[in-house]
Amino acid sequence: MKVTSVLVFLLLGLLASAQQMEVRVDGAVSFDGATFAVTEAGEDFAFGVESESSLWISIDTNDYWDKKVNPNRKWWVEVVREDLTWNDDVRLEIVRTGDGYGQKNNHKVYDGTTYQYIGENSWYFFRGRGIIYDIPIQLRLSGLSVTQGAQDFETNVILTIYDD
């Protein structure tokens, strides 16, 4: 009996260790090139530039047992910027514009519905429960000016999911 209990506990421990939630990003961010044009001589760029809505986040797990045994797992997502070529005067912000969908009705998602700055330190973005697909997100640029000159910008936005 004692050995059986230990084995069951070990099995549960192994199952728990296999519950690897993952955040998956689909689509690509696109800032319309025409937005960086100036139509009237003497003007600067418009204040803010939104990306086209073609980015989705899915919260999923590849583990079969996790989907069956623990579909209500709680999690939260943090966001951080890792620059390759950037200008500190340029602000990049992110927002969640929808809830996505789940296979069951037990999924929930909270927060992240107002634009928030993506900095070089990881910061809370939104949280939820269960497996959710295609949560739409959007990015916004601001602080761009012709005074920064013609240049290329590149950064990686890292979304990290944590067990809650």
């Binding site: 230990v6 260790s17 960086f36 003497g42 640029l141 005074t147 013609a150 890292i158």
Partner: protein, 178 residues
């Protein structure tokens, strides 16, 4: 011992995580545009007979509107600064007459890195810089923004002057890399 290992697995499960990546990449292009405000079209001078016999003809600046030049410029880091050149692109200046333009210092509106005026410059069919040292900047759009342009028409050689009908010529402004 086995129990201890199982607990280890269970505890480590609380810290599991995974990341997704969004690559954000875009380019701000080089920009160079220039404009004259207001879009009035004409600056008018008249050359009249002298008031007294034996005197010099009188040059009168008929139009009194203030004319301003606006521009936006974005250059690459370490790229050449730009100039605005002026030239006669259509028509000709009558013989014996010289035509000049002078740009003021940039107005307080607008950004850093605006250009510096060269001073009074004679305008011919060849381009002459009137503002130099333009970096990545904007002047603001409209009258009172950028540099005010003042025009001067002078009799340079009275012996070549002839009585003519209205003479029209066009001044073209171009922003260029130095």
């Amino acid at each position: 011992m086995i129990v201890f290992v199982a607990l280890g697995f269970a505890v480590s499960a609380q810290a599991q995580w995974n990341s997704g990546n969004i690559n954000v990449r875009f380019s701000v292009p080089e920009i160079a545009i220039v404009d004259i405000e207001p879009e009035l079209g004409y600056i008018e001078f008249s050359v009249n007979a002298p008031y007294i016999a034996g005197g010099e003809p009188v040059v009168e600046h008929v139009s009194s509107e203030s004319v301003w030049i606006n521009y936006t410029s974005a250059i690459r880091r370490n790229g050449n600064r730009r100039s605005i050149n002026a030239q006669i692109s259509e028509g000709t200046i009558p013989d014996g007459i010289s035509f000049y333009v002078e740009a003021s210092f940039a107005s307080a509106f607008g950004s850093i890195n605006q250009g510096s005026p060269v001073g009074r410059v004679q305008i011919t069919s060849q381009p002459h810089p009137i503002i130099t040292g333009i970096g990545s900047c904007f002047t603001g759009d409209g009258v009172g923004k950028g540099h005010e342009l003042k025009y001067f028409l002078e009799i340079s050689d009275f012996s070549q002057m002839k009585s003519i009908e209205d003479q029209v010529f066009t001044v073209l402004y171009t922003i260029t890399d130095n």
